[in-house]
Symmetry: C2
């Protein structure tokens, strides 16, 4: 198939692009390299020495004999170029990773909130709009998040996108209706993904677009079969307080001899998936596209759930690292249960990789290998969900001071 991967240079995008190419698909990457720019902004870089995208695609061709095309393009702002590219390539599928994907980064400041909303809502809508205007019959595969459901304990496992509810009628009867699962976003980043869902529903209903929305768990791991083939293909590995995902942070902290940082009680339960499963699931979704008449197809792209402090203990047991409980910068429930269904992708042939199959050791080994590249000062989380109240002294000095800089950021 002919496939465009928008955001194909990122943590999930690059492994996806190479995996699809390895499986015989004709892949074009579109990226504005925003993730690399943010690394510069934060001065928080990939633990692994990732190469420029040009080098990556050249190394891919040298290693595998397969080509991946690349266009520098910002899906949120370069609408006409995006539409023209769709018209020219007539892709069978478009994978949409072109969103700011870190919850802490999205809460870092007013400017980061606004960037996340502007970028994510525009990238998604531009893509939908361009598919309609260009009259290209592509299957859109979007990376959503398990976080659209929110992390409150529910009696039933979280279904895949839709919920059947009973609505009481005026005469005591009930009306059964299938609805999009009620959204409960926990950050500005998650908010944008819930807003995306509504846009997908509209464009599917009004324009007949074929859309799969993959509600992904927290990704861990770094290398895939493809990125492992050559050193220049190595995937990025983020460990900083904004972009580092929790399990990778634990494994990296263990690898460099740092205590495992757990926020709050660690009672938060989350869903997880290994990067190798991410790329397989996306390929399976692409190779078995839905019909428009089915509505937007939604899968939970997550392997299993786990409580944060249990994960920390697991890593501690594996590596001997100590655990350091810190104040939680997020506004969230201290403890929650989480169960979910994920039969959709299994039905397409997915056999998930669990936390216990040995890959944790692989991640720790990678972290250890690149420990010399680690900047320990980037580990603490500095993005706060709510602005701490200024001290009386601060308020007296300048009651209307804006913009706000948190002391931890200023230091």
């Amino acid at each position: 198939m002919r496939i465009i991967v928008i955001g194909g240079d990122g943590f999930c995008g690059w492994p996806t692009a190479t995996h699809l190419s390895a499986h015989g698909h004709e892949v074009t990457i579109v990226d504005n390299l925003a993730r690399r720019a943010i690394s510069e902004e934060l001065d928080a870089h990939s633990l692994t020495p990732i190469r420029p995208l040009g080098t990556r695609v050249q190394a891919w061709e040298e290693t595998t004999g397969r080509t991946i095309a690349y266009h520098y393009l910002d899906a949120a702002t370069d609408y006409d170029q995006l539409r023209a590219l769709l018209t020219r390539l007539q892709p069978d599928a478009v994978v949409h990773f072109a969103e700011q994907r870190a919850a802490p980064y999205s809460m870092k400041s007013s400017a980061h909130k606004r960037y996340t909303v502007a970028n994510n809502t525009a990238a998604t809508h531009n893509l939908l709009c361009a598919l309609v205007e260009a009259e290209v019959d592509s299957h859109l595969v979007h990376l959503g998040t398990m976080g659209v459901y929110g992390y409150t304990t529910t009696a039933a496992p979280l279904p895949e996108g839709y919920l059947t509810v009973q609505i009481p009628g005026p005469e005591g009867e009930t009306e059964e209706r299938e609805i999009l699962y009620p959204a409960n976003p926990g950050s500005i980043y998650h908010l944008t993904k819930t807003q995306d869902q509504l846009a997908f529903q509209f464009y599917n209903a009004n324009d007949g677009l074929r859309i799969t929305d993959l509600h992904q768990g927290i990704v861990w791991g770094t290398q895939t079969e493809e990125t492992h083939l050559d050193g220049r293909l190595i995937n990025r590995f983020d460990y900083d307080g904004d972009f580092g995902t929790v399990l990778n942070r634990f494994l990296m902290q263990a690898g460099v001899g740092h205590p495992l940082t757990v926020h709050g009680s660690g009672g938060q339960t989350r869903a997880f998936i290994h990067i190798r499963d991410t790329v397989r699931c996306i390929r399976l979704a692409i190779e078995t596209p839905p019909e428009a008449a089915e509505g937007v197809r939604i899968f939970n792209q997550a392997t299993e759930t786990g409580r944060i402090r249990d994960l920390a203990q697991k890593v501690s047991k594996l590596t001997g690292a100590t655990i350091d409980f810190q104040a939680n910068p997020r506004k969230e429930a201290a403890e929650n249960e989480l169960r979910m269904r994920n039969e959709g992708l299994r039905t397409l042939g997915w056999e998930p990789i669990t936390l216990d199959n040995g890959l944790m050791e692989e991640v720790r080994a990678i972290a250890e290998r690149y420990a010399h590249r680690c900047d320990l000062s980037k580990i603490p989380a500095h993005s706060f969900w709510t602005r701490p109240k200024p001290t009386e002294e601060e308020a007296a000095a300048d009651p209307t001071a804006v913009p706000f800089t948190h002391p931890a950021q200023a230091g």
Copy 2:
């Protein structure tokens, strides 16, 4: 109270600003005059001779002795100015009209879809973000739409924003939950209002913002007690296929001797409210603000519901006008029932004006008075919900032709 009305130059904004001022509030209008610019774009102007905003506020002061301040500012793009204004004025309430409000205009072309999404999502989010960053404890009053619920027949009357549902549990038990009523937007414009709802939920929960979302019916009428006081205060009256609201279009068509244009079978049922009730409801919401802990307060701001063809018949009977059934440019159910609850605003003291109380005649008289300003060519609807398939000839000539111009727009 000190009140900012963002979008205070528009069809609902200007009557709201003057009404609040007449009732003793200290009003500041913020507007980017986008609605006037769009009139120029479409060459479709208010039937009534509205004056420039500067003249309006001057006339208001001369007529009533009360002042209304005015700042030219784009809430969607001028974030820093918006935040600084909030910091300086410390308003008790902010009324948010700063959104593109016409469903047909939002579907006119790819560019109009993207403008509507970009403007509406950014204006709403900037305002929320600025209230938090400036630490201003204002009550935000937003104009939503009954259209967020969608126009499908339901067993029970539409509740005010929230729905209590029963969710089946794994053991046959049920879990009762109150959820935001499932969104079902019928246009890009309506989509943005459903996306706004999610942003309001998040900022209320995370930052404790006090928010009232008024899901308004289709507004009819033009003058209020305040805009009636002096000729220079006259409110706008739109009758074109994009911005004209259905009942005002019928009354205007009757006033100029044009058949009443009904789209499809006219079996669509909608909710309505007179402009005089719009301004009263907004004042009532402001004068009785909610607590943040209540969650986002949602009211249905609509008086009664009616079927389009019944309204046409009512106007026909009143005026002798004929009815002209035309193809429906929208993608919507041909027929639907609609019932709703509206006790929230009634509890605050609202006594609604119904369609039968004589004000239809007033609107028709205004239309007749300004009939000489009418451009009949602007009456037909030229915005289509789905792109008509090109003819074989068109496709052969240029299979990838973009951007698309509908013949009706090109003519």
